[in-house]
Amino acid sequence: MKYLDEFRDSELTHNLLREIERITTRPWVIMEICGGQTHSIMQNGIDRMLPQEIELVHGPGCPVCVTSLELVDKALAIASQPNVIFCSFGDMLRVPGSGRDLFSVRASGGQIRVVYSPMDAVKIAQQNPDKQVVFFAIGFETTGPANAMSVIQAKALGLKNFSILVSQVTVPPAMHAILGSPTNRVQGFLAAGHVCSVMGYWEYPPIAEKYRIPITVTGFEPIDLLNGVYLTVKQLEAGTHEVQNGYKRVVSYEGNKPAQAILSKTFEVCDRNWRGIGLIPDSGWRLRPEFADFDAEKRFDVGSIQTQESEICIAGKVLQGITKPPQCPAFGTLCTPENPLGATMVSSEGACSAYYRYSRNEG
């Protein structure tokens, strides 16, 4: 498509790298929030191209990774029921619950389908009126509108056999949690471009101001990422803390208003428990009472759930940028993508998975 090749142009990459080198005078720690960006950084070797002074740490922007263990266990319990077709994004299937995962439920006869879009699950519900169809609606703000549309469509179609298990989380409360922690090392943020394509970036200036930290809305192509680093370093070196938009072709200040209207029609703010991190107040969304009929947590009684997390896994520290994956004694030995102890090793946005896949064996 038009311009896409140019955003992959190696000459521009080269120019940006030289500029970053030229302006960097001392060490800086920058966090990319989004796990998709973590993978793009590793895949394109950006972490190795940057001057040594610039350390990229990886944030919690991996919805698969932060979905609470309790919700994963609920998903497993619902998916195991005989009359249920359980639909999910593919990444979720290998995520360890307390002792098993969705793959093992499928292996023992559970009907589990991987879908591209939540709205595909609505179609499955239309095609299977004698089954209960449940979609595991995980996601950050980016996925919120797609998840919301599934219940809006199901309601319009009058479906009685469709519901969603909601695990929606939001970025700004997580940024507060990271910056407010006594162990925080982050000095600048690359904000997640696609989250901002929905929400805009009007939520970020108060964060930049409160913690005196520069924030750059950043895209996913190598040039976007380098441009994000460049704009952030430029501010760090100058001692400023503005919110800048480095992804203008997709993101506007106010975001996508119709998408935000879809979100507020469907969801309301709630506290969420982030796997490995803990409870963050007002950090997620749940269905509004008007959509209670489509809430899988209300439709299915799965009894009380006793969660049991791996005692070895340090995914929580990895997700907050405190520890890098290779610093974990289990990395690549006890914990691999085939045999994961934590979700960060299986998700296509998990930092441990990125380090494993692209052979970054040193922290």
Partner: protein, 87 residues
């Protein structure tokens, strides 16, 4: 999972509950919800995540960003003028 892919709108179909359409991602065609971009027209490029179009891609802004990025190169070019002129 927050990755979103650009594609071209090739069909727009209002359906119950939402505005849907078809988007061509370099040969792979998917059904996509266009509810958040009611102004969308056939041939527009959109950025799509999980079957939901997040935004129409702004060609103007893309061109502007590229220009700004190229200007960075010009700073370098000034420092290495000989190199640049010999092209």
């Amino acid at each position: 999972m927050c990755l979103a892919v650009p594609g071209k709108i090739i069909e727009i179909t209002p359906t119950p509950g939402s505005l849907m359409g078809k988007v061509d991602f370099g040969g792979v065609i998917r059904e996509v919800c266009l509810e958040a971009i009611p102004e969308a027209q056939l041939g527009n490029y959109v950025i799509v995540h999980a079957g939901f179009a997040l935004n129409i891609l702004s060609e103007e802004e893309a061109a502007e960003t590229l220009e700004a990025l190229r200007a960075l190169g010009d700073v370098e070019a000034e420092l290495a003028a000989d190199d640049e002129e010999s092209r």
